[in-house]
Subunit: 344 residues, 2 copies
């Protein structure tokens, strides 16, 4: 137990789900707890968490309904992807001093047996990149775009939440593949960022432009791939502008995650028939076997400067989780949103 | 001009679109005209139409909006698939006495240059079968089910409008392929027909049962293939009961064709993400190159008694078109609906 003795640290602060949110989560939906750091058992290791991933999908995990993962239970530590340093280990593969990526939760320390944990290779990227472009975010963009979007050079690709973590990567992958790429974002600043920094061919400001007119202007031959992170009226408008044999990739629907009642479906779905289109949902977990290859390619593109991996890293404590999480839903951040608890 | 002289026939009665319907068509939307039968030119032939196909898709052709075919123009002869006998011909391939299938329209006589016309092979089936199981109806069922449904033995297949022309064939194709097959139909008589005559494993009476409970009862492991002819609440309920990697085939949406305002989309579409599902629209025309093979296979299955090809053949005149067409929308008919004008 050298680490605990030497560091003088003995307690772990964690954020627990106190009750299920109705609509946008409020502070009282969470509870902070502090407990002694448990001792890792044989074959286990202790991780000092340094950075916590904040993702729109986390909102879905709070609702008590069947989904691709069981909901976070009341009183359970909030589920979250995180990176950290191994500080105690009797695991054969994860050594003290290694940095690791795993679903460690919103807390300062986590014990793991190694299942689902990825060793961070500093030659590929930094720990924060393992939450972003080399982590679930990058994997989601990569498999969603290539496997389900099935791009061909010259395709017109439209991406919603284009300044967001996944959307920013998808748009750049589309450019690498010779596609004409249009991003949707909220407000002139974000739209400027999408075009000037991320290299999209054009941006549509969904807060200030007519969706229909802007789609007509920027997609005169129709949309070949629509990569959807938002749902709602933007999805419906995209359906109204499909090219023949278009592919709609359903990655998420952030516009609906905090809805308190059932939201309307895409009334234009019959365009799938007229345009012989496909609307397909996917989950990145199904491609876990291929993560190592995707990670290498993405790392290479970052090194070559073909992809930039935007990050919004917020220093704080685990107690700041709620405030930082809300930034996902008020449109404040660009790229990957991360809570950095190293200084706490 | 021997035929015209011998038969004593000189005029052709045809049904024209007088104005665009709003909602369910009414009699005043059509106009009957009688003109001299035109003389076929060199390389053309004259068809005496014997039977006219009535299809839900015809309703879509009446609306003035972009679709997979241009709308029927005001004053134009109503577009329709039909079969008939060649009575005059200078065409090298279509001889007097041949029966042919083509988009001849709602009229008694049609002139054709042969484009898009299929010679009826009496060894494969009767002319009415060339409108149904061996025509667009059967092709739609065959390609929709096999190409887009991608069935595997043991799949749970749900078909809406199961007593209808396309649905009745899809369900039987599913049975041939070892699928568990559930049909939706309106009322106990149709549901009995679907199970007793067509051989579906079960039927759901959407007019008298709770959709949700019936889906749960009949699809306890979820729906692998949902073949949709109706849209609306049935599509939405199917989305709520998908098995993993489910395929939703969008063939039509009869519940919406006569809607006078925009109808709600399927609010459960995010199930595509949770269940990694695909929702795909298709048009049978894209598979025209493969019609001959499909027609042979379907004819063989009919001969072997593996498929029955239900038909509702209504004797009448072209002037009866409107009344017979409405039977598609009031749920009166089983199987393929045909207007038989031979005696007129």
């Amino acid at each position: 137990m050298t680490y605990l003795e030497n560091s003088g640290v003995s307690s772990n602060t964690s954020i627990h789900l106190a009750r299920r949110p109705s609509g946008l989560p409020v502070a009282a939906d969470w509870r902070r707890e502090t407990h002694d750091i448990p001792e890792p058992g044989p074959g286990e290791f202790l991780v000092r968490i340094t950075m916590i991933s904040l993702d729109p999908a986390m909102r879905g995990w709070l609702d008590d309904r069947p989904s691709y993962l069981p909901p976070v239970a009341i009183d359970e530590v909030m589920r979250a992807g995180a990176v950290g340093e191994v500080v105690i280990s009797s695991h054969p593969r994860f050594k003290v001093g290694d940095y690791v990526l795993g679903t460690f939760g919103v807390q300062e320390y986590a014990i793991s047996g190694g299942t689902g944990v990825t060793l961070i290779d500093p030659k590929l990227g930094t720990p924060s990149m393992y939450l972003g472009v080399l982590g679930m975010t990058g994997m989601t963009a990569y498999f969603g775009f290539f496997e389900y979007g099935r791009p061909r050079s010259g395709d017109t690709v439209v991406v919603s939440a284009a300044a967001g973590a996944v959307g920013s990567i998808v748009g750049q992958l589309a450019k690498i593949n010779g596609c004409r790429t249009i991003g949707l974002a909220g407000g002139p600043a974000k739209c400027g960022y999408v075009v000037d920094e991320l290299g999209f061919d054009a941006a549509i400001d969904y807060q200030n432009e007519s969706l229909r007119e802007s789609f007509q202007q920027h997609c005169p031959t129709g949309v070949d791939i629509y990569f959807d992170n938002v749902g709602g009226e933007i999805l419906n408008t995209a359906l109204g502008h499909l090219a023949m044999h278009a592919r709609i990739v359903i990655c998420g629907a952030i516009s609906q995650y905090n809805a308190e009642s059932s939201t309307p479906g895409p009334s234009n779905y019959l365009a799938l028939l007229v345009r012989r289109g496909t609307m397909q949902g996917f989950l990145v977990f199904d491609h876990a076997d291929e993560y190592p290859l995707a990670r290498k390619r993405l790392a290479q593109w970052v090194k070559e400067g073909k992809i930039i991996a935007p990050e919004t890293i917020v220093p704080g404590k685990v107690a700041d989780f709620h405030d930082v999480f809300l930034r996902l839903f008020n449109g404040e951040n660009n790229g990957k949103l991360i809570l950095d608890i190293r200084a706490s």
